[in-house]
């Protein structure tokens, strides 16, 4: 257990370091923050004053070292635009993002597991095809189209749901749906594939030879095995979602999430926020991945010995 954890930690640390470095240099290469911060029309002299003020005249190497040092003393500096500690700015956005993420994942699981199982069992039946068509459509419609469409239908025309922010439970409905569309599609397909893999296995025949009723065979023996494969897929999905967040959904629904924060600070080259934000997201993703790895190893008895010893 300990060594496995250590190994995961080592790999996390490596990935982490690569990300930190990459983000740092990519941001600096992509242009001088002043050109994005100060906006239009500034004299050369003013420009220099600001460059100095924001400490952008320090050498790249100095800035990099300072950034690395920040991991030791926890001082990640102030945002260029909002002169607040970036830690606060990012922290504020984490929870709303996580909420949305969780509700999207919840909905996804609720819908796509049954759908995927149905699609696998009735592979040659219209029912299976119908399930897959639902999944295909979820994949086929860009999520901002889905989001704007929902806004128009449920809020603009029907006046049923609120669109702005994350105040009440009702506020969750549309963003959750918009975010889950692709996820549901993906997970349904994965569930179907995993189930198909399992359905062809010998132990399923054994289960039937025991005289077990079909639903028991499918759920207890089939889904349980398939879920192990699914676990890693879900992990990737969650991680991917945690990473890319949902800039689009967040900005359409004015959701104060981290995805929007990252993209807007990237566009405005707010390096401190961007750096810390990306690092935070990366840590979240890495943690999710590690957690899934552990859960995966735990769920699959064949891997469990890796945890012991």
């Amino acid at each position: 257990m300990l060594s496995y954890t250590l190994r995961i930690l080592a790999r996390m640390a490596l990935t982490f370091f690569v990300i930190v470095t990459l983000v740092f240099f990519a941001t600096r290469l992509s242009g001088n923050a002043i050109d994005f911060l100060a906006g239009e029309g500034m004299t050369q002299q003013d420009r220099e004053i600001l460059i100095h003020y924001y400490e952008l005249d320090r050498s790249l190497w100095d800035q990099y070292l300072a950034f690395l040092r920040a991991f030791l003393d926890g001082n990640f500096g102030l945002s260029f635009i909002v002169r607040r500690p970036v830690i606060e700015i990012v922290a504020e956005r984490l929870w709303p993002s996580a909420q949305l993420l969780l509700s999207a994942i919840g909905l996804t699981l609720l819908v796509s597991l049954p759908l995927g199982v149905i699609a696998a069992i009735w592979r040659r039946h219209w029912l299976g095809s119908a399930a897959m068509v639902v999944a295909f459509l979820g994949y086929a419609v860009p999520n901002f189209i889905l989001a704007v469409l929902m806004v128009l239908v449920f809020a603009y025309w029907l006046n049923w749901l609120p669109v702005v922010g994350n105040g009440t439970a009702l506020h969750f409905i549309m963003p959750t749906l918009a975010m889950s569309g692709v996820l549901i599609a993906a997970l349904t397909r994965f569930t179907r594939n995993a189930m198909l893999d399992v359905l062809g296995q010998d132990f399923m025949r054994t289960a039937r030879a025991k005289g077990l009723p079909e639903p028991v065979v499918i759920l207890r023996h089939g889904l349980r095995n398939a879920s192990i494969t699914l676990l890693s897929v879900i992990g990737l999905q969650v991680a991917g979602l945690a990473a890319s967040g949902s800039v689009v959904v967040e900005s359409i629904f004015a959701w104060p999430g981290i995805g929007e924060l990252l993209v807007s600070s990237a566009i405005r080259r707010d390096y401190p926020v961007l750096q810390f934000g990306v690092v935070t997201v990366a840590v979240a993703v890495i943690l999710v991945n590690a957690a899934i790895d552990l859960a995966y190893a735990w769920a699959d008895p064949r891997l469990r010995h890796q945890l012991k010893g």
């Binding site: 300990l2 060594s3 496995y4 250590l6 190994r7 080592a10 296995q201 010998d202 132990f203 025949r205 054994t206 289960a207 039937r208 030879a209 025991k210 005289g211 077990l212 009723p213 079909e214 207890r220 023996h221 349980r224 095995n225 192990i228 769920a299 699959d300 008895p301 064949r302 890796q306 010893g309």
Partner: protein
């Protein structure tokens, strides 16, 4: 014959899609009787079993005619039963053991739960009672430490134990009929013997009927009362086991009997041994580092091959036998430089092979080739045959496409395949044909030595016979030397001039084939011989030499430690055995003479009578 039948199969016909898998099959099984369903691969044996269980529909097949009647309380026509009612019968009145014990068990469910599930379903036990009953079922099939097994998972058990769990599961509800579909094919001879004995014992206890599916005539002789012989979806013969063996009527049955290797049928004549041996192996050791944890530095070593010494002359075949996992393949792979030896040396035609880099090994590849254990798996499924079988030659000296095709044609004809087959892909060949493709590949570079690793163990007897004949012919015609690896002693006997018996990474006995088989000394050799099933009804029922089971030396050791190594001593001309001292040797010789020993009877008495 006397009792009313328990199961009557009448005119059964089966089909998969448009492909007819079985026509007009009829047989009965009485209570307490064992009927063996034999026939070569693909003859419809499994299909029949699945049809009786009515699981064939799930596999894409269907019953196209005939009836299957299960007599008793109540009598039902299985072929017409609804799925719901069928579920009452499966696992309850009829249960089934599948061939592959690893894949037939649910890998993520504790074993206890898997067995308890049947009991809860059919006997309405609650969770606790079902688990207790599962434990009892484990005990009945002599699973050691049954308590612990309840919470273990399939992968934590050896193949033999897994098969026992399968049996426990099948017997949990004391079915009237047990269908066993090749329950031992995947197991090693010694384990096979144990499983068969177990089934037999249980059957005697409970009086259930058994439908036993196999293609191994030795197994049939061992276990069956009556035999149904199938050939390409048709029933060709049926009768009491003795009659089938003594006087087979159908031609197919006769071929089958003829192709079945019998221990003691005699070994080939040794060639005049040349002055210099082709291959010399000296105190070769191979270890695998084992990490106790994933990050931990390797702290343990698995001693897979431990100071093995061998020699092999030109044109000679050395049979290497030993049970699964004893290190045969590892040794073979090391000889070919596919695995690094930690110690010892291998010389081929006087040239040192060990310690060479992949680059340096390349020229030597032409001199030694390997035929791998599983022919299908060792042929790249995506390459056409002409590319596959000429690859070693092509790598040695690049050839044009045309040259490769010409060579492929020649090679295929030499092993008795059509030249036109070169355009096909491996999956378009039968098992035996694939094995020949492997041999073609080995021959493409005119090697002096071919290592054949379990070249026939996965094959049907008739096909296996073709391969061993081919090997013998190649040896005659081209003077190739073979290292023939197998755990099937009867096959080894047929092709080998000499035998080396491996056990726990060491060679424990070696000598001329007949000598070793007739006068085995090492307890392991004797146990191995005793486990061999003879395609002769009734001879197997004699009690076996079980006591001889010996404690295996530990092979997984901390860094630096070495397993005990026992030197070989010569006991007669060319016959060596591993013993610690003369006293032990004497004791072994005494045991050999004593009449109680199975092996003496098995190999000594019969083999002797043929050879002399």
């Amino acid at each position: 014959m006397t009792a009313a039948p328990l199961l009557s199969v009448r005119d059964l016909s089966l089909a998969f899609g448009s492909h007819t898998a079985m026509t007009g099959l009829s047989f009965d099984i009485a209570r307490g009787e064992t009927v063996a369903l034999v026939g070569e691969s693909g003859s419809g044996k499994s299909a029949t079993a699945l049809a009786i269980m009515r699981l064939i529909e799930r596999e894409g097949g269907r019953l196209t005619g005939g009836t299957v009647t299960l007599h008793g309380r109540p009598t039902v026509d299985l072929s017409a039963l609804a799925e719901g009612q069928m579920q009452q019968i499966r696992g309850n009145r009829i249960s089934m053991i599948f061939q592959e014990p690893m894949t037939a068990l649910n890998p993520v469910m504790p074993l206890g739960e898997q067995v308890a599930e049947v009991l809860r379903l059919h006997q309405g036990l609650d969770r606790k009672a079902a688990l207790a009953a599962a434990r009892a079922a484990f005990e009945r099939v002599s699973i050691p430490e049954p308590e612990r097994r309840l919470v273990q998972y399939p992968h934590e058990l050896s193949g033999g134990l897994r098969q026992r769990v399968m049996i426990a599961m099948a017997l949990a509800c004391q079915p009237d009929l047990l269908i066993a579909d090749e329950p031992t094919t995947a197991l090693d001879v010694t384990t096979q013997a144990e499983i068969l004995a177990l089934i037999k014992g249980l059957q005697e206890e409970s009086g259930m009927a058994v439908l036993f599916i196999t293609h191994d005539m030795g197994v049939v002789a061992e276990i069956a009362d009556r035999v149904v012989v199938l050939c390409r979806g048709e029933q060709v013969e049926t009768g009491p086991v003795a009659q089938i063996f003594a006087a087979p009527r159908a031609e197919y049955t006769r071929n089958l009997m003829a192709a079945t290797p019998k221990l003691g049928a005699g070994a080939p004549k040794r060639p005049a041994s040349a002055a210099k041996p082709l291959l010399e192996v000296e105190r070769l050791s191979v270890r695998f580092p084992v990490r106790p944890g994933l990050l931990a530095r390797p702290a343990l070593d698995y001693h897979a091959v431990n100071e093995v010494s061998l020699t092999l002359g030109r044109g000679e075949t050395l049979g290497l036998v030993g049970e699964s996992g004893c290190g045969k393949s590892t040794l073979a792979r090391t000889l070919l430089g596919l695995e690094q030896a930690v110690d010892g040396r291998v010389r081929l035609e006087g040239q040192e092979v060990t310690g060479l880099t992949a680059q340096e090994l390349r020229p030597l590849r032409g001199r030694m080739q390997m035929v791998f254990q599983d022919p299908y798996a060792s042929l790249n499924p995506r390459l056409p045959v002409h590319d596959l079988i000429t690859e070693p030659a092509h790598i040695r000296s690049p050839m044009t496409r045309r040259e490769r095709r010409a060579m492929a044609g020649e090679l295929l004809e030499r092993v008795g395949l059509e030249a036109a087959a070169m355009n096909r892909y491996p999956h378009q060949f039968s098992g035996g044909q694939r094995q020949r493709l492997c041999i073609c590949r080995a021959l493409s570079v005119k090697p002096a030595l071919i290592v054949a690793d379990e070249a026939v163990s996965a094959l049907d007897v008739t096909v296996a016979r073709q391969i061993t004949d081919l090997i013998a012919r190649l040896q005659r015609e081209e003077g190739v030397s073979f290292l023939f690896i197998s755990h099937d002693i009867a096959v080894v006997e047929r092709v080998s001039h000499r035998i080396a018996v491996m056990w726990a990474g060491q060679v424990v006995e070696t000598g001329p084939t007949e000598t070793v088989l007739r006068r085995p000394l090492h307890p392991y050799t004797r146990r191995l011989l005793s486990a061999v099933l003879h395609p002769e009804p009734r001879c197997g029922s004699v009690p076996r030499d079980r006591a001889a089971r010996q404690e295996m030396p530990k092979l997984l050791l901390p860094r630096g430690a070495h397993p005990e190594r026992i030197a070989l001593r010569q006991v007669e001309e060319g016959h060596f055995v591993a013993v610690r001292d003369t006293a032990e040797l004497l004791a072994l010789q005494m045991a050999q003479i004593a009449p109680a020993g199975g092996p003496a009877r098995a190999a000594g008495a019969e083999a002797g009578s043929v050879v002399v």
